[in-house]
């Protein structure tokens, strides 16, 4: 589903964010991307939904090279990928409901379908009672859920989440993880960049460990850190 072939990413500032990374993620997988701050986790995710382009090497999504897409094909790629941003990127002047419905409007879905689906997904992320509230009146965990609801509203085959448990208390973080596992059970490929050692160690899922832009480990039932 997603392939990295010798991918190197150098930012215009000259920083090597990724160096010669090669990895493959299959359909339906649940993958943790771990590593210290600055290791290149966010960059790895950005290359998938084409917020950034690889400096060298190829990123393939669904068998297509992301860098070789024609401009009109980029929206089609992004419709395949739900993104939960590290900073949520919610619209402040729209309610929870509107923020989620927005992602469907943008794809020109019929309003009847929007009216039916948005409440169901809000229910799923546990925000049914918060539908008409503006994001700034929500807790961090609730905003996180809105971001997740928006990312999955169009049922994309791939879900990418950057630090979805950052700044959350352990219980809330665990709730969010349960939600992502739930989504993964439905067949969605889920890729999570995280610092949360407890969760990674507890779930024993695939782990890709990055350090200074290199893939240090890639293990099917991994943990956050392999002690030497």
């Amino acid at each position: 589903m997603i392939q990295f072939y010798n991918v190197t990413k150098i930012y215009p500032t000259g920083v090597y964010a990724l160096r010669d990374c090669t990895a493959g993620i299959e359909k339906g997988e649940f993958v943790f991307l771990v590593g210290p701050s600055g290791a290149g986790k966010s960059t790895f995710l950005r290359l998938i939904f084409r917020e950034e382009l690889a400096t060298r090497g190829q990123v393939l999504v669904g068998g297509r090279s992301v860098s070789r897409l024609r401009p009109r094909e980029v929206p089609l790629l992004r419709r395949q990928i739900g993104v939960v941003f590290q900073d949520f990127r919610l619209l402040e002047d729209r309610t929870v409901y509107e923020n989620v419905a927005f992602a469907m409007q943008v794809l020109e879905r019929p309003s009847k379908e929007i009216r039916q689906r948005v409440p169901r997904v809000l229910q799923m992320v546990g925000l049914a009672a918060r539908a008409n509230i503006y994001p700034q009146h929500l807790s961090g965990g609730e905003q996180q859920r809105v971001a997740i609801a928006r990312a999955i509203i169009n049922t994309p085959p791939i879900l990418v989440a950057d630090e979805p448990t950052g700044n959350l208390d352990p219980d809330t973080a665990w709730d969010i993880l349960q939600l992502l596992l739930e989504i993964n059970k439905g067949g969605t490929t889920v890729i999570i960049a995280t610092h949360n050692r407890e969760i990674v160690d507890r779930l024993q899922r695939r782990v890709i460990a990055l350090g200074q832009g290199r893939i240090l480990r890639d293990e099917a039932k991994g943990v956050y850190r392999r002690e030497a």
Binding site: P75, R79, R89, L107, E108, S111
Partner: protein, 295 residues
């Protein structure tokens, strides 16, 4: 584009226009002023041309014969003139008639002939009419070469100068219009850039969610179109009133000038101005959205 999205586009457009009402007004005024000035120049050119051609078509050529032309040759010269291509008719005005006309201008109390010592100093001349105004000049030149024709006279200078002025007005107008159009496009672009900038975050999110560029562009495109159209509307209304007002006064002061009257000409201009307004508006909006779509 799907039909159900059209409502969304219009709502977004309206939201943006309301949110930036002052910039919107400024952009509309700029567009209106530019188109208004374009309209003024167009009207000036149309009228100058009309007046010029009006003068030319009433134009006759006067072919004066030499004073010593023998009476029997006069008719032959007339035939020669009539053979010049493009001549419709040539009427002889004998020197006696010319003197009478001159006398009439001086007033009846004078006996002009007597004052001139009994000798009529005037030549015979032919009043020549051309079949078409643009033939006048070439006809005049041909007649000049006929024997016994002393000189040829027609309103070359007046008409030539008028047409020259019309051409100048046309060039000046075009230059002014191009400059103003650029200014108008820039202001529309600026207004829309402001609208786009306040929504840059939203646009970026739209792009990451998978919106197509045109989905994002349409509301801004409509906003530009709206600015252009309203600007054109204001310009047309001002032109119509202004022109009718001027024409009414001109016709009192200079009733003989064959000016083009309001209704017809302004109606013809409406199409041009509205089209230009739309081009200016949409161009402005496309320019300003471009940069923000590079996500």
């Amino acid at each position: 584009m799907k039909l159900r999205t059209v409502g969304y586009y219009f709502r977004e457009t309206f939201r943006s226009v309301r949110h930036h009402s002052w910039m919107t007004v400024a952009a509309i005024i700029t567009v209106a002023i530019s188109l208004f000035i374009l309209g003024i120049f167009s009207l000036a050119v149309v009228n100058a041309n009309q007046v010029a051609t009006g003068l030319v078509s009433e134009l006759e050529i006067a072919a004066f014969l030499r004073v010593d032309t023998p009476p029997e040759v006069v008719a032959q010269v007339g035939d020669a003139i009539r053979r010049v291509p493009g001549v419709q008719e040539a009427i002889l005005v004998p020197k006696e008639e010319g003197l009478q006309q001159l006398a009439a201008q001086f007033g009846e109390q004078h006996d002009l002939l007597q004052a001139l010592g009994g000798v009529n100093p005037l030549p015979d001349y032919y009043r020549v009419k051309a079949v078409a105004p643009d033939r006048v000049e070439s006809i005049a030149r041909s007649i000049e070469r006929i024997n016994y024709v002393e000189s040829v006279n027609y309103g070359r200078d007046v008409v030539g100068r008028l047409l020259e002025v019309a051409a100048w007005v046309q060039w000046l107008g075009m230059a002014a219009v191009v400059m103003l159009a650029v200014a108008a496009v820039a202001l529309v672009a600026n207004t829309i850039r402001l609208a786009v900038m306040t929504r840059a975050r939203e646009i970026a999110i739209m792009k990451y969610v998978g919106a197509t560029n045109w989905f994002i562009r349409w509301p801004f495109f409509l906003q530009g179109l709206f600015l252009g159209l309203v600007g054109a509307g204001v310009a047309v209304v001002c032109l119509y009133w202004g022109y009718n007002w001027v024409i009414a006064r001109m016709q009192l002061a200079l009733p003989f000038l064959p000016l083009v009257t309001g209704q017809e000409i302004v109606l013809q201009l409406v199409g041009l101005l509205v089209l230009l307004g739309m081009v200016v508006g949409s161009l402005g909006s496309l320019i300003s959205v471009r940069r923000f779509l590079q996500v």
